[in-house]
C-alpha cells in the first residue's frame, strides 16, 4: 500500500516535471523574443565579412515591419552604394542603380546562402520565424556560452513552417539578455550557421544584442555585424513597403 502510493507520487512528479520543463522552454524563448518579433524599426548596420583572401566592409540602412516586410539600402562601399532590396511578404525586389530599374527576384535567390557576400542570410537580417511560436522545444539544461550562463533549448520547426534548418539550438541567457547563441542545424551536414551575440546595449529603450557574429563552414568564415543606430518606428505598416518606395529611397 505504502509502496503503491510512493510509486504514484514519483509518477506524478515525473509527468509534472516534464510538463514544467516544456512550458519553461517555451516561456524562456517567448520572453527572449518579446521585443524582437513583430516590432517595426529603422536601423543602421555595418558588417565585416572575413575571408581567406579579403575582408569586406558593408554599410546599410534597413526599415522593417515584423519579419515579413523590409527595405534594405546599401550605403557603402562606393561601388555598391544605392543597391536596395525590398521584401514585401512573399515578394522580393531589387533596385540596381546602374540600370535604374526595379527587378523582381525569385524568392529563393536571396533567401538561400549568404547576403551580399557575408555569412548572414537575409532571414538573419529580417528575423526568422518565431522560435517560441513556430517550433516545438526540448530543454537540454544549462551551459555557459560567451561567458554567460544560458538555458540550452533545442527547437524543431513545426510542420509547414518555412525554415531552412532542420533544427535550431538556442542558448538563452538565464538573466534578461535574451538569446546568446543560435545554431542552425541540418540533419545531413550538422551545423549550417551559427549566430553569436557578443555585446548587448539598450537602444531606443530596448535591451538588445548590438554586436553579432555569424559563422559558417564550422567557424572557418565569419561576419561581424554592428548595430550602430536603432529606432522604433511604430508608424510603419505593410502598405509602406512598395516597389515605388524601393525606387525612391536614396541611400
Amino acid at each position: 500500500m505504502k509502496n503503491t502510493a510512493l510509486r504514484l507520487l514519483v509518477l506524478v512528479l515525473l509527468i509534472s516535471g516534464t510538463k514544467l520543463m516544456g512550458q519553461n522552454a517555451g516561456e524562456i524563448l517567448a520572453k527572449a523574443e518579446k521585443n524582437a518579433i513583430g516590432a517595426s524599426s529603422y536601423s543602421e548596420l555595418s558588417m565585416t565579412a572575413k575571408r581567406a583572401r579579403y575582408t569586406r566592409e558593408l554599410e546599410l540602412k534597413t526599415w522593417n515591419h515584423g519579419n515579413k516586410y523590409a527595405l534594405i539600402v546599401i550605403t557603402g562601399p562606393e561601388r555598391d552604394r544605392g543597391t536596395r532590396y525590398l521584401r514585401a511578404d512573399k515578394q522580393m525586389y531589387s533596385y540596381v542603380p546602374r540600370s535604374g530599374k526595379v527587378v523582381k527576384l525569385p524568392q529563393s535567390m536571396l533567401m538561400a546562402g549568404g547576403f551580399m557576400g557575408t555569412d548572414a542570410s537575409l532571414d538573419n537580417l529580417l528575423g526568422q520565424a518565431s522560435l517560441a511560436k513556430d517550433f516545438s522545444h526540448q530543454y537540454l539544461g544549462t551551459e555557459t556560452v560567451n561567458g554567460l550562463l544560458c538555458h540550452k533549448i533545442k527547437c524543431i520547426p513545426k510542420p509547414g513552417i518555412p525554415v531552412a534548418a532542420d533544427a535550431v539550438v538556442a542558448w538563452v541567457h538565464t538573466g534578461d539578455k535574451g538569446w546568446v547563441r543560435l545554431s542552425f542545424q541540418s540533419n545531413r551536414s550538422g551545423e549550417i550557421q551559427r549566430m553569436d551575440a557578443l555585446e548587448f546595449a539598450r537602444m531606443d529603450g530596448i535591451y538588445m544584442p548590438v554586436r553579432l557574429q555569424f559563422s559558417t563552414l564550422g567557424g572557418k568564415q565569419s561576419t561581424l555585424m554592428t548595430i550602430k543606430n536603432y529606432k522604433r518606428q511604430p508608424q510603419l505598416s505593410p502598405a509602406w513597403f512598395t516597389p515605388e518606395r524601393l525606387e525612391q529611397t536614396e541611400p
Binding site: R51, R53, P97, S99, K101, L105, P106, M109
Partner: protein, 414 residues
Amino acid sequence: MNRPKLFARQSELGLAVRLAFRNLGRNRRRSLITGAAISFALFFAIILRSLQLGVYGHMVSTVVGSMSGYVQVSDTAYWPSQNLDYSLYEDQQWLEKLRQDPEVASAYPRIQGIGLLSVVDRSGVAQWIGISPEEAQSSLWQTRLASGSWESGPGSVWLGKRLAEQLQVEPGDSLVAIGQGFQGSVAGASWILAGTLHLGNPELEKRSAILKLEDAQDFSGAYGMWSYVQVTPQRRDINQDPSAELGARHPLDGAHFLSWQTRMPELIQTIEADTTGGRVILFILYVVIGFGLLGTMIMLANERRREFAMQLAMGMRRGLLAGTVFIEVLLLSLAGAATGILAGRIAVLILERYPLRLWGDVAAAIEQQGWEAILPPSLDWSISFTHAGIIVLITLAAAAWPLRTVFKTSPVHR
C-alpha cells in the same frame, strides 16, 4: 625424314592459290554465304562501334570542347566551387607564350559567374561568361549565332536560344542583370541583347549568357581578372591528358592546369561504363558469328571429305591440300572483310550526313544530361580495321576444322 614443308617449291604456292580460287568458284553459293556472314558481322560491328565512340566524341566536344574547355588554367582554389573570388590576375605575356606553344590550338581567357537576368516581370538564372574579342572572332562562336550579330557595342549580351525564348526577348531588347560580384560586391548592369546562340546542348542554351570580357569584368567588379584560361590542345582524344606537360612548360603563379578528365570525372565514368556494355554486345555478336562460321566450315569439310580423299589418293601432299584450303578461307575472309568495311563505311558516312535523332523520353533524358539527342558516328578508320582484323582471325580459327579434316582423311575409303 625431313619435316614436310607446307609448300615444297615456290611454284606450289602459286598452284595452291590457283586451286583455292577455283575451289571458291566451284561452290559459289557456299562461298557467298560464308563471305556474306563475315561482311555482315563486320558491317554491324563497325556501325555499333562507330556510333558508340561517335556519341562519346559528341558528348565531349559539346560539353567540354566548346564551353568548359579541354584544359583550364585556373587558380588552385577555383575548382570545384568555381567561385569568382578565386580569380587569376591577367597576364598577357604568359598568355602570348602559351598561345605560341605548338601543342596549343587555342587559349582564351574568360571570366564567369552566376547572375539573374530580368525583363519586366520575367526572370531567369544564367551563367554569364565574359569572352575575349579573339574568342568571339573564332569560328566556334561565329557559327553558333542563331540570330543577331557579333558586331556590337559595349554592354551587349548574347543569350542561349532557349534562355532568350524563356525571357521573350529579341535582339535590340534590353535586360537587367544582377548577381554576386567579385569578393562580395554587388553585380548589376543593364545589357542589350545583341544575338542568340545555338549551343548544341539544351542545358547550356537554357542558362548561358555570353558577354565581352571587359563588360563582364565591369559587371562583376573583377577588373583585370580572369576566372580561367580555356586551352584547346592539339591532341584531344578521350584518353589524352596534356595538362601536366603544358603546366610544366608554362607555369603561372598560384594557378594549375586541369584537364576535363580531372574536372569532370563523372563524364569519364559514364563513358567507361557505357563502353564496357558496348564491348559485351560486340563479344556476343562475335560469338554468334564465330559459331555460325564454324558451322559453315564443318559443313564444308564434310561435303568435301570424298574430294580430299580422292586428291590424297592421287598423290597430292597433305600439306599442299591443307595450304589450299587455308588460302581459300583466307581469301574468303579478306573478301568478306573488304565488302564489310566498304558497306560499313558507306553506312557510317550516311549516318554522319543524316545523324540518328532520338525522340520521346530517351531524348528528354539525354537532353537533361546535357547534350543534343543525336547519335553522330565516329569516322575513325581504326574502328573498321580493328574489327576487320578480329573477324578475319575468327574465320581463320574456324578454318582449323577443315584443316583437321584434311589431315585425318584417309586416301583409302574403308
